[in-house]
Amino acid sequence: MAIKDYIRERFFPHMWCAGCGHGIVLNGLLRAIEQIGISKNDIVMVSGIGCSSRISGYVDFHTLHTLHGRALAFATGVKMSRPELKLIVPMGDGDALAIGGNHFIHAARRNIDMTAIVMNNRIYGMTGGQYSPLSGYGTSATTAPYSNIDHTFDVVNLSVAAGASFVARTTAYHVMQMISVLKQAILHKGFSVVEILTQCPTYFGRKNKLGGAVEMMEYFKNNTTSVGSKAKQENPELIERGVFVRKEIPEYCSEYEKIIQRATIG
């Protein structure tokens, strides 16, 4: 099937700003799905609120555009009641980790089979550039005019600690790696997290004088390295990319099937 067959063409051009990284994530995701060859009827995409969540409107799957932060909770209901469906849950950084932080860690803890994509642009874009939990100390935002004193989460470490059985990170610059880790995440049985660093030149870039989309993507290129690389040892400031965790542990819906078997025997 061609990539075009996975989109709702009538809603294009999309609503994201020129230079936004979210369109690249959409592209990478569709290529990953196309390469795996999953039927469109078997995919449910659940998203929350924010720039990132609008991705669900553009794809020709079963799409559930929900409440701010709650995408994983809705997705849990969909998955539990129809475990054979593939659940893909794209979220923004504020969506997934501020208002949705509790749902995020608990979905990870349960190891319920779905793919959480954290499109991390370090800012609330839809509301006009307020600092998010991923903005970082010393950054600038419309709600941090004197500089931000909030520290960030490390999405990878948080996911690992919460119990996610597949954890990866990539960027909007590294599109081939993005397709590859998304494929692995979707095929993984369990809760998978893919953090994708994506640029918001409109707000985060402008507020922090990081240049335009090109400069921000160059930043991803020059300041990241593969997991466990020699470069990381030499320069600890580099952000690691790749697959951090991949483990086979009991998946929630499969475990519930065993509960059903136990309950129906007696």
């Binding site: 809603f11 469109k40 009827n41 078997d42 449910v44 659940v46 669900s56 409107g57 020709d60 799957f61 079963h62 799409t63 559930l64 555009h65 929900t66 409440l67 709650r70 909770a73 809705f74 997705a75 849990t76 209901g77 969909v78 998955k79 539990m80 009641s81 129809r82 054979e84 469906l85 509790n102 749902h103 608990h106 519930y256 509960i259 059903i260 136990r262 309950a263 129906t264 007696g266």
Partner: protein
């Protein structure tokens, strides 16, 4: 003994009724005094290949049941005041996206954490206007086990018929009380099943285009039609729209489908109402105390009756107006500061006839409380 007679708590009655109605998925979070509902369903649902999940909070619980409803299942959650507050966000979503689901609120004393183990009917108003934005809602209640069963089944039927969340407002007394329940035979109550679209694969399906009768056929997530569901104002395809005429049509539809079908949704009981000069209006557990007073006073020849409301929202204005037409005194008996008193006053002519007999201290209202009010009212200028 008949196999169908049980001596159980009201919360368990609600479980039996939900399973009778076809409940297949429950998500919830423990909270007194509703917890027994979750406990019993964690045991019962896997026995019928249904699914139970305890979520991280009430926000997640209501979201999870909405997700499960979209795959074609009958779903429910249960909570009490503080959890009901957290569910308002998801409740609004289910109203906007028109997702059938049932939300049980076993009421306790509030505001805030309030009186966790004491009875109250303080969430009646919240059920109507707790979630933001203009909307209509269905909220119902019952005072005894047989009616808890019937109203729970009715709630599932109304949720499916009108593609909307339905709230059941039980309370600590009915929830924890044990009394006899005769479990109805299969088929004794008609069940409304999910109305699914007959549109064939490959043909355009409009999830939000009402049929002539106002109902909207659904298509299960994972089925042959792929469509969008959103909490944003949306068009007939389910895609976001801020076109004023689309938004106007949507909001009218959301309100009209419920308010114009009040006759179908309304349930009530009446006792000794034929020639009643004093009409008590009550609902839920407080109706038991009101009925106690009516039976006692009738035995002594007083013309007194009880109108027990089971559907609270949409408020049955016409019914209340008609039943109270000849009453000299109308006394609303409830355990709050007058949340049903207000619509009763709006419903009747000469609202100065309407009085309140209430209790708000966490103690179950007694027949004596009601009699004391009657004594004051009836002693005045008779």
């Amino acid at each position: 003994m008949s196999q169908n007679i049980r001596f159980i708590q009201g919360n368990e009655v609600c479980v039996e009724a939900a399973l009778y109605a076809g409940l297949n998925f429950f998500a919830g979070y423990p909270i007194t005094p509703s917890t027994e509902i979750a406990e019993h369903l964690s045991l019962r649902l896997p026995q019928i290949k249904g699914r139970f999940i305890q979520m991280e909070d009430e926000i997640a619980s209501v979201c999870a049941i909405i997700g499960a409803s979209l795959t074609g299942h009958k779903v429910m959650t249960a909570t009490s005041g503080p959890g009901f507050s957290l569910m308002q966000e998801g409740l609004g979503y289910a109203i906007m996206a028109e997702i059938p689901c049932v939300i049980i609120n076993v009421q306790r004393g509030g505001p805030s954490t309030g009186l966790p183990t004491s009875v109250s009917q303080g969430d009646v108003g919240q059920a109507l206007w707790g979630t933001h934005g203009d909307h209509a809602v269905i909220a119902m209640t019952a005072s005894n086990h047989q009616d808890i069963f019937a109203m729970t089944v009715h709630a599932f039927n109304m949720a499916e018929t009108y593609r909307t969340p339905v709230i059941l407002l039980f309370d600590e007394v009915t929830g924890h009380m044990r009394e006899r329940l005769v479990i109805p035979e299969p088929g004794e109550f008609p069940l409304v099943e999910r109305l699914r679209t007959s549109v064939k694969e490959g043909v355009d399906y409009h999830p939000y285009l009402p049929r002539e009768d106002g109902r909207l056929p659904m298509s299960d997530f994972g089925g042959k039609h792929r469509y969008n569901v959103t909490g944003l104002a949306h068009d007939m395809w389910g895609f976001p729209s801020n076109n004023p005429s689309v938004v106007q049509g949507l909001l009218r539809h959301l309100v009209d489908k419920i308010n114009n079908n009040s006759h179908n949704i309304t349930r009530y009981n009446e006792y000794e109402m034929e020639d009643a000069r004093t009409v008590l209006i009550s609902y839920g557990s407080s109706a038991r105390s009101a009925l106690h007073v009516v039976k006692n006073r009738r035995a002594r020849g007083e013309r007194i009756g009880l109108l027990e409301l089971q559907t609270l929202w949409p408020f049955p204005f016409g019914l209340v107006r008609q039943k109270c037409a000849d009453a000299k005194y109308i006394v609303v008996v409830e355990m709050n500061m007058g949340q049903i008193l207000q619509p009763v006053r709006m419903a009747v002519d000469n609202p100065e006839r309407v009085y309140l007999a209430n209790r708000i201290d966490g103690v179950f209202i007694t027949p004596t409380d009601i009699k004391n009010i009657l004594r004051i009212i009836q002693g005045r200028g008779m």
